[in-house]
């Protein structure tokens, strides 16, 4: 294999970058300190391309492409932050706020929440669409953890970390469309789940206050994700 097969050079926002063949635009941008917004993606977990926040413009492509799921290519010209993309991102985050019941002032994750950070970075000061105010439940049946559906953004990080890293596959999704929700086992209360190992990985990958440790008050829930790059690295070396 010649070197050109393995290394691709491209331009992201006018900056020359290079990436390995198969590497995603998001990863290459990250290495070059070019921030691209994302919510469902998390390094160390598989890619789903579901939040659509990392969509970028690629010259020659009619469609917007998800940076997390698009491999770099030779001579690619990527724009990550056009006005059009900024508008879309703002609207997508706005849609998330109307979908659930996100009340920062009473949330355990206030100040440490990815949704909150995203909203601040796009300058979302008010919501221009009506809120849905859905009736959603809180599952406090687990001994140590809490699930609050009101704060869930359906990024499925919990589903993936439990399946791919812990190997328990306690979490999954049920329902469809606006009625989708995360469930434990076959929609049993979390505390009665037979597959859950109570490892807590789901809690710490969750971007919002939907999954938290019991006993935390407002703004006290800080997520610790150091385990993920460590486990991924170890797994890579093992293989």
């Amino acid at each position: 294999m010649s070197p050109t097969d393995q290394v691709k050079t491209l331009r992201i926002d006018g900056r020359d970058c290079s990436g390995r063949a198969g590497e995603t635009i998001l990863n290459v941008a990250r290495e070059n300190n070019i921030p691209i917004m994302r919510l469902c993606e998390l390094e160390g977990l598989s890619t789903v391309g579901a939040c659509r926040l990392c969509l970028v413009e690629v010259k020659g492509s009619r469609k917007l492409l998800p940076a997390c799921a698009t491999a770099v290519d030779e001579g690619m010209e990527v724009t990550t932050n056009s006005e059009r993309l900024q508008n879309y991102r703002k609207m997508i985050i706005e849609l998330l706020f109307t979908e659930g019941n996100h009340v920062c002032s009473v949330c355990v994750s206030n100040g440490h929440c990815e949704l909150q950070t995203l909203a601040q970075s796009v300058g979302l000061t008010h919501i221009d669409l009506p809120y849905r105010y859905p009736k959603k439940q809180v599952d406090a049946s687990h001994e140590r953890f809490l699930l609050d559906h009101n704060r869930c953004v359906l990024c499925t990080r919990c589903v993936r970390v439990c399946d791919e890293i812990e190997g328990a596959h306690t979490w999954d999704l049920m329902g469809r469309g606006i009625d989708s929700k995360v469930i434990t086992d076959l929609n049993q209360p979390w505390g009665e789940s037979e597959s859950c190992t109570s490892c807590g990985k789901c809690v710490h990958v969750c971007p919002t206050g939907a999954l938290s440790e019991k006993g935390r008050s407002v703004a006290e829930m800080e997520k610790r994700r150091q385990f993920l790059p460590y486990l991924t690295l170890m797994r890579g070396e093992h293989q």
């Binding site: 579901a50 659509r52 799921a69 609207m91 849609l95 979908e99 669409l129 469809r176």
Partner: protein, 544 residues
């Protein structure tokens, strides 16, 4: 099975048919069955026996004859077609075989509905018994397969399909030959061929009818495709709501296996293909190819990002060819008559014919097959017979929830992929719903948005929440509570959902709204500013 043996089955069947000079065909596809055509068939069989015509006259169940609204339909070997036949009419029909036709039940067959159609996909529908492989073989069935296996290389088959100009009939219109050659060139020890029979557009029943009326055509199409791309396993993903289609497919697969046309070492050439059925559990999104693959794999049926396309990484990670029912149905005639023959039908970029399910406010509702390039006017007014009850034509909806509503100005547009797309609609799988002045276009847009909202899988945010918000605004408009600001918001949402959704369902969900905004903006404005529904549909339901 050798070509000679196949020919022998054909000869025997034709001889057996000629030995019975009189034939009565009763439609036993879902449309006519739902109005008890099975009791009509039983009654006709009884009458034939009572009249002592047992050896001379045969009553047989056949597939769809097209004019579904007038069912149950019965036809005779002399070419008469009878409508709304009941068991009580059986005696009269049997007696008429040697006398004058039964005038009161007769449908004239020299009308545009029959004369303007061109049947390729539906060539056997309504004439052969879908539950007997011999009848399919008698109509030159499996001859194309035999020829392909013994005379042609896979590359030649792909070249023939490419030359035909056939494009995917599932909706998007991707060139079939190109898709086949991509899968054929993909590297893999195992390849799959999948038939997408998860037809789900409201009002569309083309694929259902083909499966119920001529199931062997799909199997032959899949066999030829499998040979061309090098696949050895096949799946037909058919929705569980089509029990009759499933039953007939199972029968057809068993029959083909028994004759050695399906299974291991087909026709002694070493080529093998196994076909299994997979039943969809009622999710519209499973018609999207990556969701369909996930569903076959036993996973939650949600789409994933493409690339990689299924042609490279499909079912279980292997190269997979996915085509729609109607696409496969076109394959045997193309290989029998040559790609050039097929390319001679239709327009420059859209070749061949297209089957449409004509429904709504039109005189003749049912299934029609027309050459590409025919105008919408010809379909609606000539073949469809125009609008009943002296009402005015208002719009025709093509392409289901991913399509759009086209106004009277668009009636003279030719029906092909590009023209429909440029007008803001799509060819789609073939649903065609005609609307008259009694339909409110905002209400229609709301109906389709409701469909997309409930059928959204929920994976990506723009589709999951965007369709909900658009539906809410459309509800507000039909309730006369919306403002100009809501209209502006809806345009923004349309733009967002169209451009940022993960799969085709989301990307096309705004089409019914966009097309009605484009052609019927006045109706939206009347709702918002004057609290008035032009068609009188919404004012009755409105709360203010």
């Amino acid at each position: 099975m050798t070509p000679e043996e196949l020919e022998e089955i054909k000869e025997n069947e034709l001889e057996a048919q000629q030995n019975v000079p009189q034939q009565i065909h009763v439609c036993v596809a879902a449309g006519c069955l739902s109005c008890q055509s099975d009791t009509v068939k039983d009654a006709l069989t009884r009458e034939v026996e009572q009249h002592g015509l047992g050896g001379r006259c045969k009553v047989k169940g056949v597939g769809c004859m097209g004019l579904c609204s007038e069912g149950p339909l019965v036809s005779t070997h002399t070419g008469q077609v009878y409508q709304h036949v009941t068991a009580a009419d059986a005696g009269e029909i049997v007696e008429s075989l040697d006398a004058q036709p039964v005038q009161r039940l007769l449908i004239p067959t020299d009308v545009p509905f029959f004369e303007r159609q061109k049947k390729i996909v539906l060539e056997n529908s309504g004439t052969i018994d879908p539950e007997r492989i011999e009848e399919y073989i008698a109509q030159d069935g499996y001859r194309a397969l035999m020829n392909v296996l013994t005379e042609m290389t896979p590359q030649e088959v792909v070249a023939e399909v490419t030359a035909s100009g056939l494009r995917g009939r599932g909706g998007a219109g991707y060139p079939t030959g190109l898709k086949w050659s991509t899968v054929a060139k993909a590297v893999g020890t195992q390849k799959f061929v999948v038939c997408n029979a998860d037809e789900g557009d409201p009002g569309a029943f083309m694929d259902r009818s083909v499966l119920e009326s001529d199931p062997h055509r799909i199997i032959e199409g899949m066999l030829i495709a499998a040979y061309a791309v090098g696949a050895s396993e096949g799946y037909i993903y058919v929705r569980a709501e089509y029990p009759l289609a499933i039953k007939r497919l199972k029968t057809a697969i068993r029959q083909a296996e028994r004759l050695g046309l399906l299974g291991a070492d087909i026709c002694g050439t070493g080529f093998k293909l196994r076909i299994d059925l997979r039943l969809g559990a009622g999710a519209f999104v499973c018609g999207e190819e990556t969701a369909l693959i996930a569903s076959i794999e036993g996973k939650r049926g949600t789409p994933r990002s493409r690339p990689p396309y299924p042609a490279m990484e499909g079912l279980l990670g292997h190269p997979t060819l996915i085509n729609n029912v109607e696409t496969f149905a076109n394959i045997p005639p193309i290989l029998r008559n040559g790609g050039a023959w097929y390319a001679g039908i239709g327009t420059e970029k859209s070749k061949g014919t297209k089957v449409f399910a004509l429904a709504g406010r039109v005189r003749n509702t049912g299934l029609v097959e027309v050459p590409m390039g025919i105008t919408l006017r010809e379909i609606v007014f000539d073949i469809g017979g125009g609008i009943p009850d002296g009402k005015e034509f208002k719009a025709v909806q093509t392409g289901g929830p991913s399509g759009g509503c086209l106004p009277a100005e668009a009636l003279d547009m030719p029906v092909d992929y590009e023209s429909l797309a440029s007008a803001g609609s799509i060819m789609g799988s073939g649903g065609m719903i005609v609307m008259d002045e009694s339909s409110c276009m905002v209400d229609v847009a709301k109906y389709f948005m409701d469909f997309c909202m409930t059928e959204s899988c929920g994976k990506c945010i723009p589709c999951r929440v965007g369709t909900y918000q658009m539906h809410r605004i459309l509800s507000a408009i039909t309730n006369m509570t919306a403002t100009e600001h809501d209209l502006k918001k809806m345009e923004d949402l349309c733009d967002l959902v169209k451009n940022t959704s993960l799969c085709g369902l989301g990307q096309s969900a705004p089409n019914p709204v966009l097309s009605t905004l484009k052609y019927f903006l006045a109706e939206y404005k009347a709702h918002v500013h004057e609290h008035r529904c032009v068609a009188g549909v919404c004012s009755e339901k409105a709360t203010v």
